[in-house]
Structures are given as structure tokens and as C-alpha cells.
């Protein structure tokens, strides 16, 4: 079959699954998840078929699979919508399909399918004692819609369709973060995520509008693969801050990325989004939604870098992008060091890794950004799903330890064993889980090593190394140093997490009673772990260590073909490689040394030596409080005091009440001085006088015919006399 046709079909099954589940099968959990997973499997199959055709096609970058149909007549032209598979969307499709499928399967186990429903569980709250999720079918409907949004975004050939997929995901992220809407924190988190990303989206929409007005099209290939259009945009001044039109539009679109990919200063929503179920965290924060932001930045690389060529100083737009990326990478890494919640560490690490990709785009390292996007999606999905497995095991452990409270665990000291207030997500309550959850331990460790860039083996090493090498080779020393420092911290907090969670002795009874998750949860972990290692091998740079490898750098050749000018491969350099290996190794070692013998109930060993720096990290630099003070509370004040109390209640209601009071006065005056005396008086007068007149004439009407006759006689006599006397 034609690959274009297959591409059209890719997003279709999940949306059908969504409607079928919502409208028909939502009462049957088994049917609903079968439909959702079946649909995802169909999409996966189609995606793999298209991917295979894509990688076996020569010069895909010049001749991508594309098809489109006219959609909306707009002004003088017609907006077309269609599909496009070029190398970038092909690889994005590959990792999106794999991670989505893994997450769908994982959700079955995560939501305790097969268990009885606990009668104490309420919809909107997480199951408390391992019963099946009360809103099981709804979850699968939402993630199907989510998958539809992402797949649409990836296969789209224009910015408008991309934006629609983008917004569908925004909606789903809102719905899924607030999936347990009974929790107050989840409600706040969903609103926060929605509003924060909306800030970016507004600018993005402005960017889309100005791009359309500048070029008359939103199709990727007509803009990004057209030297003339790009050259014209780069040469046109925008009149804002000395930017070119391309620079301004690029910057506006990049603000969409900042919102969606949680870059500083719009990063605040992502850690709070951890309130959702863990598959959602993996879906939003690893595989799909946050990747979409970076995908946009990578996709619009030619526009962002219009007027720039390899080796030239960065343009203003690129400098901004590089700065935000590098700053976010370091900034989020420092916060991650001081977090205790296993999912929050991963959330900040996601922000940090996305910062790497954005920084790579900013310094012109197009292929490196795409490469890190792919590898990161795999290992971060793996880490999130692994952390979900850990939390799940801990929750089972909590339930079990309350049953076996009489038997203390050997080696567990003191009051920390009290299970009453044990937070199943706090890493300081874990420890020793490697023996209880071997599959989770091994896969999580692989993911963690990939995240920290463990040399040679893991995917994260190759992609991160490529970014660092690119930054170094092109002389962006500030970016290079920032990212290297962030890499050091990444390795450190990753090892801290692994050590606290899996190594050492159990620090609570819950950790002692934890057990391995079901196969539907561990199987996706294993699959993702394979990719977390193997995904890096496709991008081993040529001439690595001075060796001549039998395989060329396939990833670079393939993805580099997306652009008009193929980026040149970098010459091998020892300095970034040694830096990369050094920071990863040192960070991992240091993390292990610090945390390996942490006793139960002890504070974080970093707390004392780092002092106020640690508390700043712990408090996330106070961004939440600052935004609360700067934006949230003024808006509440504006809404409640100004708009509601002053304008609405005071001004508008006051005006209305004033009008009402005046109308009442006028009405009562009319009533008392006009209606009652004049109108009523006249009416009464007529009625009354008629009555009186009638009453006084009533005596004439005796009812005696003879009297009438007499009257008649008298009058006819008078009439007769008159006629006889006065008529001639």
C-alpha cells in the first residue's frame, strides 16, 4: 500500500477507540482496555510500516511521503491539511508509537485490572487498597484521545494541524492530571498545568498568525524548505527589538515550546502534574506532550536559524533559545537534587533534559537535539513507568505491613517503621527494593544510567555527548560548561534516586513488604529498557575514539537529510568526550557514596554542608511562591476585589440599582400624582355618574304599562298641540 495512505490512517484508531469507549463500552473494563490497546496496536503497526518504508527510502528528505487535501477556504487561498513523513517525523513517529503502546499496556497493570473493586473506593480518588481503579474505562478513553493528539501532531504537514493536536493534548493533559479529581492537589495541578501551558500557546498562536500573514501558508515544506521564503523572512525587519521577521516568528513559536516543554520560566506546571496517575506522568512528561514542544522547535529549526550558517555567531533568537535551554537544564537539575518525591525528581530531570534539547536547537545542533529527543523519550518513559512500579510496590507494601505490623523487619530501626504516615512516593521511605522488585530494579537502573549518560552502553550517553561535542566544537563554551555541570548534577541525582530507592536496607516496613508488579507493568519496562540502551547505537559518531567503525552514523545521515543543507558531521574531539564520561562517572560515584548508608529517619546528608543553597533547591527557588505573589494573587485580587466587588457589585450593580430606584420613584410618582387622581378619577367619575344618573332615573321605570301609556299620551298630546299650534 502507499505509505501516504498508511500515514493518513495512523491517528485514526485511537480516536475511534476514544469514541467507542466513551459512548458504548465504558461499563465494561475488559472491553474498554481491549479496544484502547487494540487501537493503539493498530496505530503502532501502521506507524512501524510507515517507519520501515521511510528508512528504506533513498533521499527521504528530498522526497518525503506527503499528501494533502483542501480543507478551509481562507481569504484568497485555501488551507490544506495533510500528512508528511520526512526523516524527523519518521523517527518521532517511531518513538511515540513505541512509548505509547508500552504505556497503554502498563496502564492495565497499574490500575489493578483483574482485582475486585474495593467498595470503599470512590471515583475521583486513587484506589486505597489495591482494588481496581473505579474510573478504569475513562482512563483508557482519555489516553486514547491523547495518543490521537500526539499522532496527529507528528504526521501533520502544517502548523495548524500541529496546533490542533497540540491543543487536544493540552486538554487531555488537563483531564488526566486531574484524573483523581477528588484530591485537592490534583485539582490545583490540573488548572495550573492548563493555564501555564496556555500562556505559551497564546504566543504560539500569535506566531502562527504572523507566519501565515507573512508567507500565506502554514505548510512546513513551503516555508522551511524554501530558500526564497526563508531568505525573505530573514531579511525583513520586524520592527521589534531589531529582530528579523523570521526571528520574531521563531521566537513566538518557541514560546509555545517553552510552555509545552516546561522550560524556564513556564516550568512550574510540570512537577505538579505528577498528581496524575503514573502512566499519565510517563505519557505527558516523557513520551508525548513535552516532546511535542521540542519537536516543534526542531521542526522549525530552519526558521529559528534563518540568516545563520554553520560557524557564524548566533542570531538573537538563537541566543535566547540557547540561553533558556542551557539555563533550564542547570536550574532544573539543581532542584532535582533536593527533591524527595520519586516522581518529582524525574519531573525536574525531564525539565532539565528538555533544556538540553532546546539548548542544542539554540546552538544549531539540529541532529543532536532530535537524537536526544528520541533517546530521552525512551529512557524517561522507562524511568517514569519504573517509578510507578516502585510506588505501586510500596503501596502494596503499606497495605501488607499494616496486616503484619506485629512482625518487625530485621535491621529496621526505631520510629521510622511506623507505617501510619508513610508516603509511598518519598524515596527516604524506600530502600532495599532491589531484592523485592528485581525486574523494576534492573530496568530502572538501565534507565537511570541512560539518563546520567553512562559511557558507551546507554543511549543517553551518545545523545548527550553529541550535544556537548557540538557545543564545544562550535565554540559555545558557556553553553558547554553549563550543560556539563548539569550533566554532573544529573548523574548525581539519578544515583541518589537509585541508591535511596533500591540499594541499602529497607527504611520502612512498607519497603520491606513491597513486592514486584504484575507482568503487564514489567513487560513494558523491559521493552523500553532495550530501547534505552539500543536507541543510542544508531547514532555513534564516525571516527569515535579514532576508530573506523563498520557502520556510519546512520542517525546523522538520516535525520540530517531533513534539512535543505545537510549539517556536516563533527570531527571527533577528546575534550567533550572526556568531560562527558568524567561528569557522568563522578556524579554517579558521588551519588552512591553519599547515600549508600543512609539510615532510616535521617535527614538528607546534603542538607548540612549545602545550607541555604539546599533549602533554596528544596523550595524550587521559590518560583511557585513568586508566581503566586506576582500573578496568582494579583489576579485573584483583580477578579475578586476589583472585578467582582468594585466593578461588578459596586459599579454595574450600583448603576442597575440606581436605575431601579429612580424607576421606582418615578413609577410611584406617576401612580400617586397622575394615575390615581387623573386616570382613575376620570374613570370613576364616568362610572359613578352613570350609576347615579341611572339610579335617579330608575323611578321612571315603574313597569306599569298603563303609566307608560299615560306618559306616551301626554307627550303625543304635547307634540300634537305643538304641530297644530305652531305649524302653519
Amino acid at each position: 500500500m502507499q505509505p501516504e495512505l498508511l500515514t493518513w490512517l495512523i491517528p485514526l484508531p485511537p480516536i475511534l477507540a476514544f469514541f467507542v469507549i466513551v459512548l458504548l463500552t465504558n461499563r465494561s473494563n475488559r472491553l474498554s482496555h481491549s479496544i484502547a490497546i487494540g487501537a493503539m496496536l493498530a496505530s503502532w503497526g501502521l506507524a512501524m510500516a510507515v517507519f520501515w518504508r521511510a528508512i528504506t527510502t533513498e533521499h527521504l528528505g528530498e522526497h518525503p511521503f506527503e499528501a494533502s487535501i483542501p480543507w478551509l477556504p481562507a481569504g484568497s487561498g485555501v488551507l490544506r491539511f495533510g500528512v508528511l513523513i520526512d526523516p524527523l517525523s519518521a523517527i518521532t513517529l517511531f518513538f511515540v508509537a513505541w512509548t505509547c503502546l508500552a504505556i497503554f499496556v502498563y496502564s492495565v497493570g497499574y490500575h489493578n485490572f483483574g482485582k475486585q473493586r474495593d467498595p470503599d473506593d470512590r471515583p475521583g480518588l486513587p484506589p486505597r487498597a489495591g482494588g481496581i481503579e473505579p474510573m478504569y474505562a475513562r482512563f483508557f478513553a482519555f489516553i486514547s484521545l491523547f495518543a490521537f493528539g500526539m499522532l496527529t501532531l507528528v504526521v501533520s504537514d502544517n502548523l495548524l494541524l500541529l496546533f490542533m493536536g497540540w491543543e487536544i493534548m493540552g486538554l487531555c493533559s488537563y483531564l488526566l492530571i486531574g484524573f483523581w479529581y477528588g484530591k485537592d492537589s490534583a485539582k490545583r495541578a490540573m488548572v495550573k498545568a492548563f493555564i501555564t501551558t496556555r500562556v505559551g500557546d497564546v504566543f504560539m498562536l500569535l506566531g502562527i498568525a504572523s507566519l501565515y500573514s507573512a508567507t500565506g501558508t502554514l505548510n512546513y515544506r513551503e516555508i522551511l524548505f524554501n530558500e526564497e521564503v526563508l531568505g525573505r523572512l530573514a531579511a525583513t525587519p520586524s520592527g521589534v527589538l531589531g529582530l528579523s521577521a523570521a526571528g520574531l516568528i521563531g521566537l513566538l513559536l518557541f514560546l509555545g515550546t517553552v510552555g509545552k516543554s516546561a522550560q524556564w520560566p513556564l516550568h512550574v506546571w510540570l512537577p505538579d502534574a505528577m498528581e496524575g496517575p503514573t502512566p499519565v506522568s510517563a505519557m505527558i512528561h516523557a513520551a508525548t506532550m513535552v516532546s511535542a514542544g521540542v519537536y516543534l522547535a526542531v521542526r522549525f529549526f530552519p526558521l529559528l536559524t534563518a540568516g545563520w550558517h554553520e560557524g557564524a555567531p548566533l542570531t538573537t533568537t538563537m541566543t535566547v533559545v540557547a540561553f533558556i535551554g542551557a539555563f533550564t537544564a542547570l536550574f532544573a537539575a539543581t532542584i532535582a537534587v533536593a527533591q524527595n518525591d520519586v516522581k518529582r525528581v524525574l519531573a525536574y530531570s525531564t525539565i532539565s533534559q528538555l533544556g538540553y534539547m532546546v539548548a542544542a536547537v539554540g546552538i544549531g545542533a539540529y541532529v543532536a537535539a532530535a537524537f536526544h529527543l528520541v533517546t530521552h523519550a525512551f529512557f524517561k518513559a522507562l524511568l517514569f513507568l519504573g517509578s510507578g512500579s516502585v510506588i505501586h510496590g510500596m503501596e502494596h507494601g503499606l497495605a501488607a505491613s499494616s496486616k503484619h505490623a506485629a512482625q518487625p523487619i530485621p535491621g529496621l530501626a526505631g520510629p521510622a517503621g511506623v507505617h501510619a504516615h508513610v508516603d509511598a512516593q518519598d524515596m527516604f521511605n524506600m530502600g532495599g527494593l532491589r531484592r523485592k522488585m528485581p525486574v523494576t530494579f534492573v530496568t530502572f537502573t538501565i534507565g537511570g544510567l541512560a539518563l546520567s549518560g553512562f559511557p558507551l552502553l546507554t543511549a543517553g550517553f551518545w545523545s548527550k555527548d553529541e550535544i556537548l561535542a557540538d557545543a564545544f566544537a562550535n565554540g559555545h563554551l558557556a553553553v558547554f560548561l553549563t550543560l556539563a555541570l548539569a550533566a554532573l548534577l544529573t548523574a548525581f541525582y539519578t544515583m541518589r534516586q537509585i541508591t535511596l530507592t533500591f540499594l541499602g536496607q529497607p527504611r520502612t516496613e512498607a519497603a520491606g513488604h513491597a513486592h514486584e508488579s504484575v507482568w503487564t507493568m514489567t513487560a513494558p519496562l523491559v521493552v523500553l529498557a532495550v530501547f534505552a540502551v539500543a536507541a543510542g547505537w544508531v547514532g555513534i559518531p564516525e571516527g569515535f575514539l579514532g576508530l573506523h567503525l563498520p557502520v556510519p552514523n546512520w542517525f546523522h545521515e538520516f535525520v540530517g537529510g531533513t534539512l535543505l543543507e545537510h549539517p556536516p558531521a563533527l570531527a571527533f574531539n577528546w575534550i567533550p568526550l572526556l568531560t562527558s564520561v568524567g561528569v557522568a562517572g563522578f556524579g554517579l560515584l558521588f551519588g552512591w557514596l553519599v547515600y549508600r548508608k543512609l539510615p532510616a529517619g535521617a535527614p538528607d546528608p546534603l542538607q548540612r554542608p549545602l545550607g541555604f543553597v539546599y533549602s533554596a533547591w528544596k523550595k524550587k527557588y521559590g518560583f511557585d511562591e513568586a508566581y503566586d505573589f506576582l500573578f496568582v494573587r494579583p489576579f485573584y485580587w483583580f477578579a475578586e476585589t476589583f472585578t467582582y466587588r468594585w466593578v461588578d457589585r459596586g459599579l454595574i450593580d450600583g448603576f442597575l440599582h440606581g436605575v431601579a430606584a429612580v424607576a421606582l420613584r418615578m413609577g410611584s410618582a406617576f401612580r400617586n400624582y397622575f394615575d390615581k387622581p387623573v386616570v382613575n378619577g376620570f374613570g370613576d367619575l364616568v362610572g359613578e355618574s352613570t350609576k347615579r344618573f341611572g339610579r335617579s332615573f330608575r323611578i321612571v321605570q315603574t313597569g306599569r304599562v298603563q303609566q307608560y301609556l299615560i306618559v306616551g299620551l301626554v307627550f303625543s298630546g304635547l307634540l300634537l298641540s305643538y304641530i297644530l299650534l305652531f305649524q302653519p
Binding site: Q701, G703, R704, V705, Q706, L709, L713
Partner: protein, 102 residues
């Protein structure tokens, strides 16, 4: 020949007697009789004028005949009503027949 004025005087006298009967009597039958007298006075006038003024034209006699017919039917209807009222109310006094009065 008796002059016309005698007839007219007689007719006027008859009419006045009938009128008095109609106005003054309380008995419904008597009122009816008064009406008959007034009609007959009119008849007398009609016939007298015919004989003295236009003896060649027959219209005066025709008028008289029509008045007879009307008087006869009026008397028949009137008496029937009076009998009917008498059967119900056991009275023929006009003042006491006040069913429709306010």
C-alpha cells in the same frame, strides 16, 4: 243627512272611553276591551271619511276590514295570554303580573 262631524264626535267619544278603560282599569280583560273600543272608534272614522270624502274609492272599506281582522286576532291572542296567566297566578290584575320586573 247626518253631517260628518256627528260621526267624528261619536268616534272621538268612543276613543276617549276606550282610552280611559285602557289607562284606568286594573283588570286585564277590561284593558283588552278598552283597546277594542279604541279600534272600533278608528273604524268608525275610516268608514265615515270614506262615505263623505271619497265614496267612489273602496280603500276606506278595505282599511276597516283589515282593522277588524287585526282586532279579532289581537283579541284572540290577548285573551289566550290572559287565560294562561290566570291559570298560573290565579289573577288577571295587570299590576300583579310582575314576573319580569326588577
Amino acid at each position: 243627512m247626518i253631517p260628518l262631524s256627528w260621526y267624528l264626535t261619536l268616534a272621538a267619544a268612543l276613543f276617549c272611553i276606550g282610552l280611559y278603560g285602557v289607562l284606568a282599569r286594573r283588570n286585564a280583560v277590561a284593558i283588552l276591551m278598552g283597546i277594542e273600543l279604541m279600534l272600533n272608534a278608528v273604524n268608525l272614522n275610516l268608514v265615515a271619511f270614506w262615505r263623505y270624502v271619497t265614496p267612489t274609492v273602496i280603500s276606506g272599506q278595505v282599511f276597516a276590514v283589515i282593522v277588524f281582522a287585526v282586532a279579532a286576532s289581537e283579541a284572540a291572542v290577548g285573551l289566550a295570554l290572559i287565560i294562561s296567566i290566570y291559570r298560573r297566578r290565579a289573577t288577571v290584575v295587570a299590576d300583579e303580573i310582575n314576573l319580569l320586573k326588577w
